[in-house]
């Protein structure tokens, strides 16, 4: 299945396709990739993100995710030419990348959802490559930047993750996930989505 076709759908049409694939899959969780302490630039600015609105063809699209109107987190998206993005690209050996730090503050959550990662494909992947990438070729990583505090919850499929600083998890495009911060501390993670150049595969 071409990723381009999937992410061109409105979110509400994408969801049943993802649930079907999820229900058919044997493994309903995340994969532990390893541990790496990235050199995080912490002196950065964050903007609030509200995941009930996705960018679709340049417009705000209501995802219809129930409870998502109360979801939100702080985010910093790195520019493509930053040294940090180069470090992440090299570490994961991917060519086109979306890279952000998400801070889920105390008392905040993100409702159960699937990732489209439209910007990784549409903004950061060359036009001539976009229609060559399969959904299964999407690389999706979460890097936890601090040790887990009690009350910090990240659910992927049927699995509740536990983590130490630097732990890296991965999951495929059809894996539902959500997160909540019931602790008193902020919870920072590095969110990475990207692709290897399809012509080199």
């Amino acid at each position: 299945m071409l990723l381009y076709d999937l992410i061109s759908m409105p979110y509400k049409e994408f969801v049943p396709v993802a649930w079907q694939k999820y229900n058919e899959s044997e493994y309903k969780g995340a994969t532990y990739v390893g541990n790496h302490l990235f050199d995080i630039p912490y002196d950065i600015e964050y903007k609030m993100q509200y995941p009930h609105l996705y960018d679709h063809n340049g417009q705000n699209e209501d995802t219809g995710i129930k409870g998502a109107e109360r979801s939100g987190f702080q985010q910093h998206r790195f520019s493509q030419d930053s040294d940090f993005v180069q470090e992440v690209k090299e570490y994961f050996q991917i060519d086109y990348i979306y890279c952000a730090i998400n801070n889920l503050q105390h008392q905040m959550m993100t409702a159960m959802h699937f990732d489209l990662n439209r910007s990784a494909l549409i903004k950061y992947t060359p036009l001539e490559k976009q229609k060559k990438i399969l959904a299964e070729d999407k690389h999706r990583y979460i890097v936890f930047l601090q040790d887990q505090e009690m009350g910090q919850i990240f659910q992927v499929g049927e699995q509740y993750l536990s983590w130490k600083a630097g732990d890296i998890y991965s999951f495929p495009w059809y894996m539902p996930h959500c997160t909540a911060n019931c602790s008193a501390e902020d919870r920072f993670l590095l969110s990475v989505a990207g692709f290897v150049d399809p012509d080199t595969l």
Binding site: K66, G67, R70, Q107, M109, A111, M112, G151, P176, A180
Partner: protein
């Protein structure tokens, strides 16, 4: 043993210090499963009071205090064999959560138990149960200590006074529970 009265009448911060101390010293850092029971007198048709002050507030639940003379309180008292009981019917709506906390349950001791008995309870005598009223849905989370609870409709979980817990509803459906706190009459226990 710790007097429940002494615990319940200090500030929450002081209570929390004692609870963390006890929690770190305990071996089982989670909930205990107490079986499954379908309660017959759940007040589904009542209007709940929301503790939400605005749509932006996420740390809140909708709740209904079940009156002492209601059928559900009688049913609960009978099922768990407890004398003084505080029962709330609660709904955690989609997008809501309750941050990590300990239960003090002052009202159980100071309002539900007779004054003559209040000084006789030990903290360990408090019965704390959660009855899940529907099957768990994806994104509905209940953490007790280090354990993420899984449930089916009717499942009953309990935990002691020093167990930190929190809950979040990252799923779409509402999540209903019966929240039960109870004490057995200390004179009846002694006999």
């Amino acid at each position: 043993m710790i007097s429940y009265y002494e615990l319940a009448t200090v500030s929450y911060d002081d209570f929390a210090i004692k609870a963390w101390e006890k929690y770190y010293a305990c071996e089982h850092k989670g909930a205990t499963y107490y079986g499954n029971h379908q309660f017959q007198n759940i007040p589904w048709d009542i209007e709940m009071h929301s503790t939400t002050e605005s749509d932006a507030q996420r740390n809140a639940v909708d709740k209904y205090y079940c009156p002492p003379d209601s059928n559900i309180v009688a049913e609960v008292r009978n099922y768990f064999d407890i004398d003084y009981v505080d029962v709330h019917f609660q709904n955690l709506r989609a997008g809501m959560l309750t941050t990590l906390h300990f239960d003090v349950n002052r009202s159980l001791l100071l309002q539900c138990a007779p004054e003559s008995q209040q000084m006789k309870f030990q903290a360990e005598d408090k019965h704390r149960y959660i009855v899940f009223l529907q099957d768990q849905q994806p994104g509905q989370i209940f953490q007790v200590g280090e354990e993420y609870v899984t449930w089916k409709a009717g499942d009953i979980m309990g935990f002691p006074w020093y167990m930190p817990h929190c809950t979040a509803n990252c799923g779409a459906p509402d999540r209903y529970i019966l929240s039960i706190i109870g004490l057995r009459d200390p004179d009846r226990v002694a006999t």
